[in-house]
């Protein structure tokens, strides 16, 4: 009942299949970028990609043609600008058409919360008066049965696979992460299967201020991938590589430059 610790390639092959709904999360921190590249290497297709902030990791998956649909709330290169592969897919269907399902951060976060809670939907004060209501089918009005007030409901997100990066795990697969924890816990608990890539495997998880621990029995697979969050970071292990985010702008801006980059990944 505890998470099996396996190499990244094996974990991805085992957990991620064509057509799956896959969520790679990490809110600006502990983003499982290496796992994303492994999905590209294994040539998965037709994925529904879910992520609050599709940044470099999803720009790569989209450009590589792995995605059929994107469920998201903010698609940009943080601190830099646009995601050119994402824009190329939406505006020009290159390399393939990309269906989009667009929400706000609050909506996406609550959809994960509902998924982790075994509820079919979540309620929030959101979207009221925006055009998102018109274009996103997964937003519905709901009335408070006590006050009559109108609020907004969004359906639970329950991905087939949830993937995050974390600082540590022990040999029972108990996972520990700290710093900005984003929706890490929610996406792992909301997903049918989960993979956590970690900086280091330890015998005992040292009690750490601000740390969240997920018991091994709530995680499907753990893979040891030091630096697996690069160019994002793992607090206590690495710093955010801002130059890399800069560099991605020029790589992703041009289809040829991107395909050279892709060839390098697949090589």
């Amino acid at each position: 009942m505890t998470a099996r610790i396996v190499p990244l390639a094996e974990a991805v092959a085992e957990l991620v299949h064509d057509g799956d709904t896959v969520a790679l999360e990490g809110f600006t921190h502990l983003i499982p970028v290496a796992a994303g590249r492994e999905i590209i290497r294994q040539g998965r297709r037709g994925l529904t990609l879910v992520r609050m902030t599709p940044d470099i990791v999803y720009d790569q998956l989209i450009g590589a043609g792995c995605a059929a649909k994107l469920v998201f709330s903010w698609a940009g290169n943080p601190g830099v600008g646009s995601l050119h592969r994402f824009r190329d897919a939406v505006q020009n269907s290159w390399p393939a058409p990309l269906e989009i399902e667009e929400h706000s951060h609050a909506g996406m976060a609550n959809r994960y919360v509902a998924g982790a809670s075994g509820l079919p939907f979540a309620v929030l004060r959101g979207y009221l008066g925006t055009d998102l209501n018109e274009h996103t089918a997964t937003i519905a009005p709901i009335r408070c049965p006590f006050t009559g007030e109108m609020l907004t409901a969004v359906p639970a997100l329950n991905p087939d696979v949830g993937i995050v990066h974390a600082q540590r795990a022990d040999r029972h697969g108990n996972v520990q992460f700290w710093g900005i924890t984003g929706v890490h816990k929610e996406v792992v608990l909301a997903s049918a299967r989960s993979l956590v890539t970690i900086e280091e495997l330890v015998d005992e998880l040292p009690p750490t201020p601000g740390a969240v621990v997920l018991p091994g029995w709530a995680v499907t697979r753990v893979s040891v991938v030091p630096g697996g969050a690069h160019p994002s970071y793992a607090m206590g292990f690495s710093d955010r590589d801002n130059d890399h985010y800069q560099a991605w702008d020029s790589i992703s801006r041009d289809r040829d430059a991107f395909q050279q980059w892709l060839a390098g990944v697949l090589a």
């Binding site: 609050m52 951060h105 959101g126 009221l128 900005i180």
Partner: protein, 246 residues
């Protein structure tokens, strides 16, 4: 000047919800000058961050290391933003209309086939809905200041008076739109954005020309105080460390 004007708009006794870029610079500038007690809240989950240098992303380690508390993203939106605990929210815009409605989603009338696909909503719709008040910071041009936004990502004052109340939006909405030319404020009666201040050396005509609708100009048009030595020094200290990063 935009940054300085935005910083000045922040009082010290409140909490400010900041995104990266100019809002973050302005909020940190305010904290270093007239508002040392200003509480910076980043949507990544850091409450009371005290960065000594400007963070390059809303998730920089320095924010978590210096924060009074770090919470999960669902908690940030549900326990802290949604109930109206945050006094001021900063927003940018790709398009903004005469009622300060904001578009950061698509340029072009057809959502399915946009002329330009923008990043999207992020935290903006709920920041616009739930913060005590909203300050919009955006460079002024006729392409950005449009009569009607192509897509309402975040509600300003809707179609005019009473719209926010009717929608059940609990914050007061945009109270200031700070641009590189001056400052616009919603008319107290009909909520239409009105030019109330110009920055030093800028004329009302320039601001009107840089607006896609017939921009109203306040009867008594004031001029922004030029940046003080203290403000410029603090700004240099903050930005120095992130030179070359946009």
């Amino acid at each position: 000047m935009m940054t300085v004007a935005a910083a000045r708009a922040l009082r010290g006794d409140t909490r400010c919800f900041v995104g990266i870029g100019l809002p973050s610079t302005a909020a940190n500038l305010a904290r270093r000058t007239h508002a040392p007690d200003l509480v910076l809240v980043y949507e990544s989950g850091t409450i009371g961050a005290k960065p000594d240098r400007l963070p390059l992303s809303i998730g920089d380690g320095v924010l978590a290391e210096t924060a009074d508390a770090v919470v999960s993203v669902p908690e940030m939106f549900n326990y802290w933003l949604q109930p109206g605990r945050i006094g001021v929210g900063f927003l940018g815009a790709a398009q903004i209309d005469r009622y300060a409605n904001i578009n950061t989603t698509v340029i072009g009338a057809d959502y399915a086939a946009p002329r330009v696909r923008l990043p999207g909503a992020g935290g903006a719709p709920e920041i616009a809905a739930s913060c005590g008040e909203v300050i919009v910071v955006v460079r002024q041009s006729a392409r950005t200041f449009v009569d009607r936004v192509d897509f309402v990502t975040s509600v300003g004052h809707g179609k005019g008076p009473g719209d926010r109340e009717q929608l059940g939006l609990r914050g007061r909405g945009p109270v200031l739109v700070i641009t590189d030319l001056g400052v616009l404020e919603p008319d107290p009666d009909d909520r239409e954005l009105t030019l109330t201040r110009v920055h030093p050396g800028v004329t009302a005509e320039q601001a009107v020309a840089a607006t896609g609708w017939p921009l109203r100009v306040a009867a008594t048009l004031r001029t922004t105080e030029p940046p003080s030595e203290e403000e410029l020094t603090a700004l240099r200290e903050l930005t120095g460390s992130t030179e070359g990063i946009r």
